[in-house]
Symmetry: C2
Subunit: 457 residues, 2 copies
Amino acid sequence: MANKPSIPKGTRDFTPQEMARRNYIFDTIRSVFRLYGFQQIETPAMENLSTLMGKYGEEGDKLLFKILNSGDWKQGITGEQFLNSSIPQLTNKVSEKGLRYDLTVPFARFVVQNREKIQFPFKRYQIQPVWRADRPQRGRYREFYQCDVDVIGTDSLLSELELIQIVEEVYRRLGIRVCLHLNNRKILAGIAEVIGAPDKLTDITVAIDKLDKIGLDNVNQELREKGLSDKSIERLQPILAMSGSNEDKLRTIAEVLAASETGRKGVEETKSVLELCEQTGVALNIELDLTLARGLNYYTGAIFEVKALDVEMGSITGGGRYDNLTGIFGMPGVSGVGISFGADRIYDVLNQLDLYPQTSQEQTQVLFAHFGEAERAYCLKWAKQLREAGINTEVYPEICKIKKQMNYADQKQIPFVAIAGGDEMQNDTVMLKNMQTGEQEEVDTTTLIKNIRILRI
Amino acid sequence: MANKPSIPKGTRDFTPQEMARRNYIFDTIRSVFRLYGFQQIETPAMENLSTLMGKYGEEGDKLLFKILNSGDWKQGITGEQFLNSSIPQLTNKVSEKGLRYDLTVPFARFVVQNREKIQFPFKRYQIQPVWRADRPQRGRYREFYQCDVDVIGTDSLLSELELIQIVEEVYRRLGIRVCLHLNNRKILAGIAEVIGAPDKLTDITVAIDKLDKIGLDNVNQELREKGLSDKSIERLQPILAMSGSNEDKLRTIAEVLAASETGRKGVEETKSVLELCEQTGVALNIELDLTLARGLNYYTGAIFEVKALDVEMGSITGGGRYDNLTGIFGMPGVSGVGISFGADRIYDVLNQLDLYPQTSQEQTQVLFAHFGEAERAYCLKWAKQLREAGINTEVYPEICKIKKQMNYADQKQIPFVAIAGGDEMQNDTVMLKNMQTGEQEEVDTTTLIKNIRILRI
């Protein structure tokens, strides 16, 4: 065919099978969020560019999808302006709106804009797509879903506990074994302080972050290049070499950070969070990981990252505490903490580990197949009863060969086919075929409904 | 505050309460779709403009939101071209992608592009937002959800029946009394044919469509102005004057259309659909409405519109059969039929009739309130048990006055508050307060779980 249609690079269609799997993930996450009292909000796909610009760094500004103004968008721009203005200047003239880049900035905007309607502490979740004009590549998309859960309006560490409990419960339900890496930005700030390089916090975290990949010597080399003194680097060594249990690490780091008020606060917070986990019987594998930094610079307290144990994959969930997210919109001093589940990566993990449940709520359970007009009419009555019993049911729409109808059931992975012929009509029964075992049995309505209910569990 | 943030005109934030109501609508619709074996797909928010342009008429092209190309989007455009090109020409140079305008065109594109992965007849549903650069006004938004359900790849009238059954079941579950208006494009074509004005089909349907509003005389006047002969108009009169039961109307129209093959086919199809409804006990109020035309010109068979009986409101569901939707993408001759539920209007109807259920799955059922650190730790253990029993539970995160905690429960409409003080801790109980009745009772865990389960039903 000449013009087979296509979709933009980096975007995806989701087929029914993919949607069933995605819904399984979203439904699982959502039900756990609700179990902890989080409520859903949605924000528009489009935000004013004034809301989005400058929030994700210069690179982020470029990666925003911008929407061309409606109508005569070139009005008021002279030929000279067109030729001589920079792309950002000109973009600013022809575009007022952009697609959201994440759910965090829209959330902050939502809280400030709707503060009168909100009960604080505000526990919200949000599951919506975001768009980034990234170069498309394997596993990186220009449209993807984020699943964010945040508490805003309290600095209670109980919120950190709840997010950890949510992580535990979501992955328990999904059957994925994970490790939660925990750190605290105040500890990192304390480290920078005590080694005498408080202004080098970012350089230090970036370098430390690579410890696993490039090794200690190269990390030290990088720190030297970033301008850290030999003395600072020397003081950092016990921290980088730290090992043992979370308690061991906390004890060591507490000694190292004794002179830093911020550092002590970070240790204190971390200790409290771990104690709360202990008290409430959190069985999740939690590792205090002083090399965890997380890039986003709005984090000010606990930071988290979750990795799957049985698959090589980056972080599948991450987040942290921020003290001033809504400050950018003129509402300062509101502390919050949140995490984001990466649906696409979780999807890949479940695929690789073959962990999807065999049956799906979304699936048709019975197809009625028939030999002709009268049989089809007979099937329609049966189908009605099954649907009233809550069973997803189809009647093959066309009068055609049984083979074609069976093939349809097969392709659509429908577990049961109920066939109606003359005999069955006379007996007020159908022939029920189990598509997996091939067994078939003549049954009446009550038996049919009972069988399907039992077998689909 | 100086810069209270805002969102683009015609878009909306949805608060938790609004989301709970919207989810109630979507969940109801979705569960009925599944009951009939329809499966979900999703398509990207962005489509290539080549997919979208020309599909919605000239006006539609203007109403598409276009996305500015990434990077140096003005590259290759000279100052002269900029000044002298028309807006559409220039838009074409700076934008390759647009936001989807409806779910129908992306669905057609999906079917053609994924035809190898699809089992026909393909029964799909799709619930996603669409965007239109319409002038925002009361009840008209620039971003809104559509809920579409279609069968494609069969011309069996069983599909029309199923859609009617779905309409019946969705509105039964929502508690909205409705009337389904039914017509057939072939009947309309037959009418144009027999009155001697086959080329005036659109003018006739547009005029007929206004019968309710402007009356018979004005309709005739309009037809005259559109160039219909007096003879044609005279022949149309019995059709416009038609009344009585669906059977009466069908009988009359069959006589009028006896000379038109297309017309006879339309009558035949309509009769069959009504018979199928009869056979399967459809109790829905169905009215054969020969003045129903529906604007979209891809319809070729049955057309539907659903109106609420107890609220003044336009159509809340509509659709019809199309014989060649995928033809625009090079896959001709595939017949399908579908309808679309208007979530925003249904939302308004439910609000006006006050039909939302009192309780919601999404709601927190119990808040644990406490007097201090030790009590909070005690509450955390209880909360764990309740969550394990599937009860949405919160523990107030901060140590603060009970009044503040009660106020939080009140604002968030949490039906139960469980208070733990020293006595309760000693007795291994909590004081359970019913927030509606004000009653309170000291209970143990088992009783607590049992009470909440009973009371929330």
